[in-house]
Amino acid sequence: MTQNTTTATWQNIFEAVEALYELGWTDGLPVLPPTADKVAEFLAAGGRDGAEIVGELPERRREITAEKVAANAVMAGCKPEYMPVVLAATEAMLAPPFNLVGPSSSMGGAAVLVIVNGPIVQELGINARNNLFGPGNRANSTIGRAVRLILMNACAAIPGLYDRSVIGHPGKFSYCIAEAETETHWTPLHVERGFSADQSAVTVFASEAPRQVRSVGHPEAILYALADVASSLGTSLSTSGSVGDPAAGIRQGETVVTIAGNSNLWRDWTKADVKQYLYDRIQRSVADFKRAQVFPGDMEPGDDERMVPLTAGPEDVLLVFAGGEESNMSSVIPSWGPKVGSTSVTKEVRR
């Protein structure tokens, strides 16, 4: 064990669970005790020395060691073999472009969505299909939960103290999905972002909750509805703000879009086609922004026709083929803020 480690002895599991509540190390649900032997087993599975610094959060004077990552992964209920994914997610959210201090403290209430790509999805059985954001799969539930526990216990994102989310959202308990990349002709997300198909990678995205879109059956109808939902007033993207591109007048940001069902429906569409289609339509009129008092000033002729895009380019629409095979239902997940506040980051899963 590394320095500054506290050890304690408990007589039984229930006593341990209660003691962990007393220590304030839980997300409100019971956690497993991070025993010294379990933490060592997880470190070995991750191929890391306990003292290795995985990343830093300088604003809160925190160095996040591999041992802290392992302890939280144990507490979350992970299997040891999940460690490389948890480590990659931790590295990604501590990378400077993610600017973790922003989304982990803001009133905007972001969760860290973890998207896993590559062969490790099959190896670990990470769910990319039915109940994509729902319960029932150990890998998704515990990897996402480990990330939240790392945020709370190692990064000081303590609700009510340094995490000042006004409403939060259920994804703050656990928010981990995979892309069903073996079941589509679409280029996997991590390959779009510079990795090879035989590499595994984790993308982290500071974001709001998913909003389900029920339009099904016809590609253009689905995309039209998706763009409409993604153009909603009231998201972080459609808010005026102190950061972002001042010329745009609104914050702009990134949007994750998931599309489920049978990929054959999209046989005439590439991912780039879909992203371009959505980018062209994820927008809102100046008139609407004025009605919602996002923009100041009185209505002027032409305001209904002047459109403001909510993203800066098609590359800011992150398209993920995922969700149940039963239907082409989809979802929209707006980013917590503008890219200058937090940008999605992809890191390789090292093994």
Binding site: E59, R60, R61, S105, A156, G160, L161, Y162, R164
Partner: protein, 73 residues
């Protein structure tokens, strides 16, 4: 809080204004950086719904306190 404390540590006088819903967060951040006595001005929450004139009026009401902290007198 973070920036104010660091500007002060760098030798430049600073005055930080924070709304009163964030008192525990501000005090926690000061403690985290070993600056428990860092003087912070707390003003009524919220300010995000104030228009330009209302915000100016609020700032004017705090100006004396800001000057006192910056000049130490």
């Amino acid at each position: 809080m973070h920036d104010g404390i660091h500007v002060e540590k760098a030798g430049l006088p600073s005055a930080t204004i924070c709304t009163d819903r964030f008192i525990p967060t501000a005090k926690g951040m000061a403690k985290m950086w070993g600056a428990e006595d860092y003087p912070t001005i707390f003003t009524e929450h919220p300010i995000e719904n104030l228009d330009r004139n209302q915000l100016r009026k609020r700032a004017e009401g705090l100006a004396t306190e800001v000057v006192t902290i910056l000049t130490g007198s």
